[in-house]
């Protein structure tokens, strides 16, 4: 059985060592300036935690990376390819960038297994048997293989979020985006999702994660990016950021959430 094919890609295939690059990115919602001159470069394999008060543009920024939001000026380059208007190119970028949402967004009319198989079958044109094998491999990895035949509505929040992570991983993405993956969960389920993310980080996946879980940031992040009012205020190693953040705004934010 050609099992080796489905082991997650660890080595870079492209030449570029920069996974995501944002250059002078600006975005407006109507006349509201949501992202202000964002510059950020994420090397392959780096784990970045993005934090900041609500409405600071964290989600908008990572949603621009796979073009769920459109940026109006500047350049976004993902895996060496610019994210632009061209629909086909966007789909290509998207199929290599996994995304996990705050509200899971599993497809409720499909079983967990079918949720995971959908994109490999229809985007990667993988045979059903191979897609099923792949889906079970990742469901096993997020430890919910026994729920493969259940519908999302029958799962707890934590299980749904792990299924959503497995669904994203089934596309063998080079980059994973997490948009507040634990914010909608009951407190006792946060840990199981964070554990899954920690183990993913341990494998060298490039990760951009919007989260308020500072424990997670301390443990796995290579870099913490602090945003406020649409701009990047501070980007630093977690140690530096938590111990002696240089900006007043970051210190205020940390004082608020680390009470």
């Amino acid at each position: 059985m050609p099992q080796a094919v489905y082991i997650p890609r660890r080595e870079a295939r492209g030449k570029s060592v920069v996974a995501v690059e944002l250059r002078d990115v600006n975005k407006w919602f109507g006349s509201f300036h949501a992202l202000k001159n964002i510059n950020l470069s994420v090397p392959r394999g780096q784990r970045v935690v993005i934090c900041g008060p609500s409405g600071s543009g964290k989600s908008t920024m990572i949603r621009c990376i796979n073009h769920l939001e459109e940026h109006q000026s500047g350049e976004i380059i993902v895996n060496g390819k610019p994210v632009a208007q061209d629909l086909r190119k966007i789909d290509e970028v998207r199929s290599n960038v996994g995304m996990v949402f705050q509200h899971f967004n599993l497809f409720p009319h499909l079983t967990v297994l079918e949720n995971c198989m959908l994109a490999p079958v229809w985007v990667r044109k993988m045979p059903r048997m191979a897609a099923e094998e792949l889906a079970l491999y990742y469901l096993n990895r997020v430890r919910i293989a026994e729920k493969a035949a259940s519908y999302p509505g029958q799962l707890s929040g934590g299980q749904q979020q792990r299924a959503a992570i497995a669904r994203a991983l089934c596309m063998n993405p080079k980059i994973m985006l997490f948009d507040e993956p634990t914010s909608a969960l009951d407190p006792e389920m946060v840990k199981e999702v964070l554990d899954t993310m920690v183990s993913l980080a341990g494998e060298g996946m490039t990760m951009l994660c919007v989260t308020h879980e500072m424990g997670f940031a301390r443990e796995v992040a290579d870099r913490v990016v602090f945003m406020d009012r649409g701009e990047i205020v501070e980007a630093n190693t977690p140690h530096e950021f938590f111990a002696n953040s240089r900006s007043e705004r970051a210190r205020q934010f940390l004082a608020q959430i680390l009470k």
């Binding site: 796979n66 769920l68 290509e92 199929s95 599993l106 985007v123 509505g153 994203a168």
Partner: protein, 379 residues
């Protein structure tokens, strides 16, 4: 300092066992009747009134349609009995009501077409049947051709051509409604997607079509199809007189269907689209695999309501001279040979029962469909 005697700490060590509900809350027919029908004196009075009314209505109906009805004999037996329905009249006119003026020697072709159609529809609608994809292909590709060949006839196959002016009765009603149903759903979906499209031209065309068609009464659409279409297209391209109302009915019901489908599309959360897009799924696949299956499931009741409305609206084609089932009943009713006191009531009662049977069937099927789909993904 809190006073321990007022607020003693609560500590439950043993697990409390579950108990059976007491008799007056235990579910059962007696409890249900007590709670729902006789909870207060006024509710009891209302219950009794409605039961009496229902019994009286049922009695009236049964006495006309069954007890006092004429079941055998001829027109004289019917004339002698002004109290009950005249079923021999329906028996004699039954063939006319089914086929209209379709030549008697060729009626087997209608029977064959309808039998094949019925088998394919059952095969298609029965969700546990094997090889439903084959059934769909046969029904949507092979069957229309077969039905055309059989009903209209092809001289080459030694099937004499039967002009559509001779078609009539239930044949027309079924033909109109099946064509309407089969076309309105896909066109409705396309129009609904178009109306929600980001492309301004596509959107404008769909909105204009939907709003114009919905803003005009069906009878007007029929007249337009019948009298104006020949003015716009050259003679040799003018569609058959039966095809014109068929086109009208398909277009008319698509506009309504589009709005029903749009309601379903609007109920799908944005997150579903985003999740699909984030996986790199194309627009077409996203709609086909994720959005439409959910949206259509939500609006099954409204879709079937539209189908039922369409089925009943086919009676209006009589206005442009097509002899549908109701028109056939009307023609049979005024036959002087059968003049009698209850002929009209019997004819209309029969027509009502036939329409009701079809509509009730559709409604029941949609309900079983809803239950089946709900079982799938609700916890």
């Amino acid at each position: 300092m809190t006073d321990q005697s007022l607020h003693p700490p609560i500590v439950n060590v043993a697990l409390m066992p579950a108990m059976a509900p007491p008799a007056d809350v235990r579910p059962g027919p007696v409890t249900w009747i007590k709670r729902n029908l006789f909870s207060t004196p006024s509710s009891a009075a209302l219950t009794i009134c409605f039961v009496l009314l229902a019994v009286w209505l049922l009695h009236q109906f049964l006495s006309f349609a069954v007890i006092k009805a004429v079941w055998s004999g001829g027109r004289d037996a019917c004339r002698a009995n002004p109290e009950g329905a005249c079923w021999p009249f329906i028996a004699e006119k039954f063939d006319y009501l089914r086929y209209g003026a379709y030549p008697v020697s060729e009626r087997w072709r209608v029977d064959l077409t309808q039998t094949i159609g019925a088998i394919l529809i059952v095969w298609l609608l029965w969700t546990r049947a094997p090889r439903r994809k084959l059934a769909a292909m046969l029904f949507f590709v092979f069957y229309p051709v077969a039905a055309f060949v059989l009903l209209r006839g092809v001289a080459l196959l030694h099937l004499p051509v039967i002009d559509t002016t001779l078609w009539g009765g239930l044949l027309i009603t079924l033909l109109m409604s099946i064509v309407g149903i089969v076309f309105s759903l896909p066109f409705g979906v396309i129009l609904a997607l178009g109306r929600r499209s980001d492309l301004p031209m596509v959107k404008a065309v769909c909105v204009t079509f939907i709003e114009v068609v919905r803003g005009v009464p069906f009878i007007t659409v029929l007249f337009m199809a019948n009298f104006m279409m020949p003015l716009f297209v050259p003679d040799y391209l003018t569609p058959d007189r039966l095809l014109r109302p068929l086109i009208a009915i398909a277009l008319f019901s698509s506009a309504y269907m589009a709005e029903v489908v749009r309601a379903g599309l609007q109920a799908i959360p944005k997150g579903q689209y985003e999740a699909a897009k984030a996986l790199g799924i194309s627009y077409f696949d996203m709609m086909r695999l994720i959005v439409l299956p959910q949206a259509l499931t939500i609006v099954i009741p409204s879709i079937v309501s539209t189908f039922i409305g369409l089925f009943k609206d086919t009676t209006l084609v009589a206005i442009v001279g097509i002899a549908d089932f109701l028109k056939a009943v009307e023609t049979a009713r005024v036959d002087p040979n059968w003049a009698g006191p209850t002929i009209s009531s019997t004819g209309y009662l029969f027509a009502g029962l036939v329409y009701w049977a079809f509509c009730f069937g559709m409604s029941r099927y949609s309900q079983s469909m809803e239950r089946q789909l709900a079982r799938g993904h609700k916890s």
